[in-house]
C-alpha cells in the first residue's frame, strides 16, 4: 500500500514499487485521461505534472514517488476546462482523434507556467510530444493564444480542484 497525492487528494494505492506511475494512475486510481502510447517516455501521451514539472509517467516507478509529491493529471488541471490552454485548444479546435491531447495540454500548461510568453523556439523545445494526426500547427497557435490570455499559471490551486 502506497500513498499518492493525485489532484489534491491523497489516495491509497496497491502496486509493486516497479509499477509505472502511468498504470497506477490508470488502473489503481482510475483516472484514464492520462494515456499509454509507448511506455518508453518517447511520445508524451502519459504526461502529468509532478510538483509542477511535466513528467512522462510511463517511465516513473511507483517506488520513486513520495507521498508528498503533488501529482496533477489532466483531470485535475482545472475545474470545468477553464485553464487557458484548454480554452485555447477549444477555440482553435486543436484535437483530431484527441488521444495525445491530454499529454500535449499538460506539456503546454507546464511550459506557460515557466515561460508565460513563449517564443516559437520555446514552443519547439518544450512541445516534444508525438501527435500522429498532425495537429502541431494548431498546437503552436493555441499555445500562443493561451499565452495571450495572460494567465499561463499551470495547474490550479488545490482549493479549486474538484474533478476526479
Amino acid at each position: 500500500m502506497a500513498k499518492l497525492n493525485v489532484n489534491g487528494k491523497v489516495r491509497e494505492v496497491q502496486g509493486e514499487p516497479d509499477m509505472p506511475l502511468l498504470w497506477v494512475i490508470r488502473e489503481q486510481v482510475g483516472l484514464t485521461g492520462t494515456k499509454y502510447g509507448c511506455g518508453v517516455a518517447q511520445c508524451g501521451a502519459c504526461s502529468v505534472h509532478i510538483n509542477g514539472e511535466v513528467q512522462r509517467s510511463c517511465s516513473i516507478r511507483l517506488g520513486d514517488v513520495k507521498p508528498s509529491d503533488k501529482i496533477v493529471t489532466i483531470e485535475g488541471l482545472s475545474r470545468n476546462g477553464s485553464h487557458p490552454v484548454q480554452k485555447a485548444w477549444l477555440a482553435i479546435d486543436v484535437p483530431q482523434c484527441g488521444y495525445c491531447q491530454s499529454g500535449q495540454i499538460m506539456a503546454a500548461a507546464a511550459l506557460l507556467r515557466k515561460t508565460p510568453k513563449p517564443t516559437d523556439r520555446d514552443i519547439d523545445e518544450a512541445m516534444t510530444n508525438i501527435c500522429r494526426c498532425g495537429t502541431y500547427q494548431r498546437i503552436r497557435a493555441a499555445v500562443h493564444m493561451a499565452a495571450g490570455m495572460g494567465t499561463g499559471s499551470g495547474s490550479v490551486a488545490p482549493a479549486q480542484r474538484r474533478r476526479a
Partner: protein
Amino acid sequence: MTSTGKVSRRAFVVGSAAAGGGLALSFAVPFAPPASAESTALANEVNIWVAVKPDDTCVIRIARSEMGQGTITGLAQLVAEELECDWKKVAVEQITPGRNLASKRAWGEMGTGGSRGIRTSQDYVRRGGAAARMMLLEAAADDWKVPVAELTVAEGVITHAGSNRSTSYGKVAAAAAKLTPPDPKAIALKDPKSWKIAGKPMKRLDTAGKLDGSKMYAIDVKLPGMLGAAIKDCPVYGGKISSYDESKIIGMPGVKRAVKVKDSAVAVVADSWWHAKAALDALPIVWDEGPGAAQSSATIAEHLKDGLTAETTNGGRQNGDPLKAIAEAAKKVEAVYSTPFLAHATMEPMNATARITADKAEAWVPTQNAEASLAALSEASGVPLANCEVYRHDLGGGFGRRGGTQDYVHQVVAIAKEFPGVPVKLIWTREEDMAHDFYRPISVCKMSAGLDADGNLVGLYVRVSGQSINAWLSPGQIKGGKDERQLQGLSEQPGDAQLGYDAPNLAIEYVMRNTHVPVGPWRGVNTNQNAVYMECFIEEVARAAGKDSVAFRRALMTNHPRHLAVLDAVAEKAGWGTPLPAGVHRGVAQFMGYASYSAAVAEVSVSEAGKLKVHRMVLALDCGHVVNPDQVAAQIEGSVAYGLTAALYGECPVENGRMTSLNFDTYEIMRLAEMPKVETVLVPSYEFWGGVGEPTICVVTPSVLNAIFAATGKPVRSLPLKHVKLV
C-alpha cells in the same frame, strides 16, 4: 459457429474490402422508424437519422466512425442543413452495428475508410434530414389545419405567418413520428451553394471531452470485475508457438493464467493490464519461427528487383509504343525509385474488451468498421450475430489499421472465452503494435522517358514491382491476375484516381511481388508510393528538358482541367516563380486519389552540412463539395505531418523475418519543431463529392523531394531521408 455467422461475415467483407477501392455497397435506405430501436431517451424518433427531444434538441444519428477526421461533425452538419434545425441544439448519437443489423442495415454501411465517411453517405443522410423536416412541418400543418406550403421554418422554429402562429420541432416531433415518411426520391435537396450550416467552418462537436480527460476511448473502458490481458504473437510472420512455461509466472502479482491464442500467440491474463504485461515479459516462450525467418530487407529487395524485368505483369495500361519512342528519342531519362514498409502507429495501440457468455457476446472496440468488428466477434465467439453487440468507441487514430481485419477482436474474444461472463481488456504494447501491423506495402519503380529535341515528352514507361494489398486481404479483388489497386493514382479512368498527364506513348505496369509481411491500407494507400514515383520522375524529366517544373507539367495536362486547376491554384498561392530567400528552394507535385485533386508546393533549405529544413508548404485540394472548410484544413495540415514523417523517418526494416523498429525511439515520428507552416487552398468545384482524409498526403513527400532536388541538384530516389546524404 453457426453457418449464419460465416455467411454474414462474408457479406460484411464485401463492404470492408471496398476500403480505398472506391466501391460502394448498395443497400436500401428506408426512412421509416426502425422496428426495434432502443430509442434515444425522451426523444421522439422522426426517422432513423433524426430524433427530437421536447427541449428541441435534435439528436442526429451517426453510423460512420470518428477517428479524428471530423466525420461526426461533417455528417451532422449535412443532416442539420436539410433539417433546418438550430445548430446549437444538435446532439449526436452513434449507432451500434448490432442495432444496424437488427434494423436490416437501415443506417447503411458503417465502414470508414477510403475517405468515404462523408462522400458515400452524403446523399442519404441529407435526404434523411430533409424527410424529417418535411414530417415536422406536416405535423404542424396538421395541428393548425393549414396547408403545409404556407409554413416556413428556421432554426427549428416553424411559423405560419398568415395566422401569426409558431411552434418548435420539440413540440411537434411526437406527432411527426406517426406520419408516413415522404418518398426519398421525391425530396429536393438544397443547392450546396445556399448552405448555411454545411459548408461552414463549424466547431467540432466532439472536442470538449478531449481537453479534460473525460473522453472514453476503448482503451479506457472500465467494467465490473474486468481483467487485463497482454499478448505476444510470433514475431516472425507465419510462425507459431512451440511452447511456453506458464509455471514461471504463476504466483506473480495478480496473474490468473496464460492463454494460447490460435496457434501463434500467447496472452497472459491478470487482475490489471500492467500485471499481465509484467508477467508476459517474464513468460518463457519458444517459437517455431517457420520459413519466414530467412527473410530480411535484403532478400525482399532482391525479390522486388526481379519484378522490374519480369515478363508477366499484373495489370496496367498502355497507349502507343513507349519503349520504341524512348529508344528513338533525342534525350532519355531513367531512374529507379523505392519506398519501404511503413507502420500506422496509431497513438492508441490496438486494444479491445470482450465479455462472452454461452449465449451473448459483447465487445468494446476502437473500429473503423463496426460491422467487421461484429462479424469478428460472432465468428470468434461462436455466438450468433443476433446475440452479439459491439460498442464502438471513437478511435485514437485509425489511418486504415482498424478496418476490415479486426485481428485484435479475434484475439480478445479467444481470450475472454476462457473467462465466461468476465470482461477482459486486451491492450497491445507499442512493441506488439509495431511488430504486427498490416504495413504499407513495399515497392520499387523503374521509369524511363524520352524527350524530343524541343524537350517535349514523347514516351513514358513506368514499371512498379511490389507487394499487393489485395493479395493479402482481399484476393477476390484480383481478377485474371490483374490487380489495378496497386496502380492507384495512375489510372486512365476519370473519377477516382486518374493520372493527370497524357503522353503520346505511355505504359504503366504492375508486377506483383508478395512477401511474408502482412500489408494493408495506410492513410492514402498506394497513392503515396505512386505519387513519389510519378511526381519525382516527372521532375527529373522536366529538368532534363530544361523546363520549369510547373510549365512542363501543365503541358501534359491539357486534357485534365481539374488536375490543372488545382496545380494552378497551388502555384499561384505559393508564388511559384517569385524570388525566395537565399538558400530556400521550391518543389511541386500534383496527384489524384479518392475522387479528389491535390497539389503541393514545398519550400525547403538544405544546409552545407546536408541538414534539411522544410519551411512552408502550400497545399491545394479540390474535393468537389466542402462540408467544413476548417476541418478540411485540419486534415490537410495533418496529412503534412503524416506524409513528412514518412519522408523523413519512415521505414520498417526486416531482419530474420521480423520487424526491428518496435517503438518510437527507432520508428521516429516528426515532432512539432519540424512542422512547416502549412497553408491550404480549397478549390471546391461543386461538381462532385471527393474524399478529404487521404488525398493530400501523397503530394507531401514528392513536393519536398523535388524541392530538395532544386536545392542540391540531385534527385532523391529512396526513402526515408534519414538515410540519404543530401550533400
